[in-house]
């Protein structure tokens, strides 16, 4: 039988990886826009957000490595894990689609991270509290940027409205996983490390509904969704992301620049 301390550390390790992988995978996805955005200004805007997210992932994965205590650093965790050892919600790995679809995904995750990090700044885990305090400022801007675009596109032309409404219908079911609570989440709540996800969800829904109303978009109906990313079971898309992201470290182990 495992000691309680060891079980605690394993749950925290898993939880921190979930947060870190969400930022890492979303940041990698946004990076795909570099050089392809509809305008030079948006190229930089999306790249800035991607870099913020990678920065968050670095802090979180470094911390995860320390919790694990097996000498793995941020790079080893980011670049040398197998697909099943990533624990991001699968919303983050969904394809960029058109610019509007990327922004819908972004709004849904930005609002989640904002509500989560705002409640984590007084976490019992000092390290997570500090990371949340730093990240919440970044995420507040991300949501300002993404929701601004969603409102413009939703309340724009009939075509832009139709496109983002379709993207919203497509991505909405994946949001269920963000708030699906399991033993790891409950352990974090019990230890005062993370907020209760039902509480985060209530605030998220309120925020999202306000944005959708301004964007003249319809909130899709909630449907049950079998969530698996947080348990390491991913959609086909993550494999392609990892192939591109990990290529260099796999081909040239330990490469630095």
């Amino acid at each position: 039988m495992k000691g309680a301390a060891e079980t605690d550390a394993q749950a925290l390790f898993r939880y921190v990886l979930r947060l870190g992988d969400l930022s890492l995978v979303l940041g990698q996805r946004l990076g795909e826009w570099v050089g392809h955005s509809p305008a030079l200004e948006e190229d930089l805007g999306l790249a800035n957000i991607a870099l913020d997210l990678i920065g968050q992932a670095r802090l979180l994965l470094s911390y995860a490595g320390e919790i694990e205590g097996r000498g793995r650093d941020e790079d080893q965790l980011a670049y040398l894990r197998e697909q099943g050892a990533y624990f991001n919600a699968i919303l983050a790995e969904q394809p960029n689609g058109d610019f509007g679809q990327t922004l819908v995904r972004q709004v849904l995750i930005d609002a989640f991270q904002l509500e989560l990090y705002e409640r984590m700044t007084d976490s019992m885990d000092a390290r997570l509290a500090a990371i949340a305090a730093k990240s919440v400022k970044e995420v507040r801007y991300h949501l300002r940027y993404s929701s601004g675009w969603l409102v413009r596109l939703g309340d724009g032309t009939p075509e832009s409205h139709q496109r983002v409404q379709t993207s919203l219908e497509l991505l909405w079911p994946y949001t269920v996983e963000l708030f699906a609570e399991d033993d790891v989440d409950r352990a974090m709540v019990d230890r005062g490390i993370a907020p209760r996800l039902s509480e985060v969800r209530a605030a998220w829904v309120e925020r999202i509904e306000a944005i959708l109303a301004e964007a003249t978009l319809k909130r899709p109906a909630d449907r049950p969704h079998a969530w698996h990313g947080k348990r390491g079971q991913h959609s086909e898309h993550l494999g392609y992301i990892l192939a591109e992201m990990q290529y260099l470290q796999r081909a040239y182990p330990g490469a630095r620049w």
Binding site: A39, L40, E41, L44, G45, N48, Y141, Y145, G148, R152
Partner: protein, 96 residues
């Protein structure tokens, strides 16, 4: 005629730190004022260049005509007595 396929142009002014004035740093395209502010933040403050941003529609700026440079600015050239060079500036004044 303004090109309708392009977003309008905005001029960007950044205040580097409190107490300094806003300086013109460049321009950008944006669909509306709030997008212009976001773009200015993303393009011109990536390296901590500022603490405050102004954006102004470029078409709101009224510029002097380069053809009139001589008549506008030449007459001041021989009036060096207008330069307040005879003041002694105290050491405490850093940003004059």
């Amino acid at each position: 005629m303004e090109d309708q396929r392009q977003w309008p142009l905005f001029e960007v002014f950044i205040r580097a730190r409190g107490g300094l004035d806003h300086k013109h740093v460049g321009s950008l395209h944006a669909a509306d004022p709030s997008m212009a502010l976001d773009h200015a933040r993303d393009l011109y403050t990536r390296r901590q260049e500022g603490v405050s941003i102004w954006v102004v529609p470029s078409k709101a700026i009224i510029a002097s005509d380069p053809a009139e440079t001589d008549s506008l600015f030449e007459p001041a050239r021989d009036k060096i007595y207008r330069h307040p060079t005879f003041y002694v500036i105290p050491d405490e004044v850093k940003t004059l």
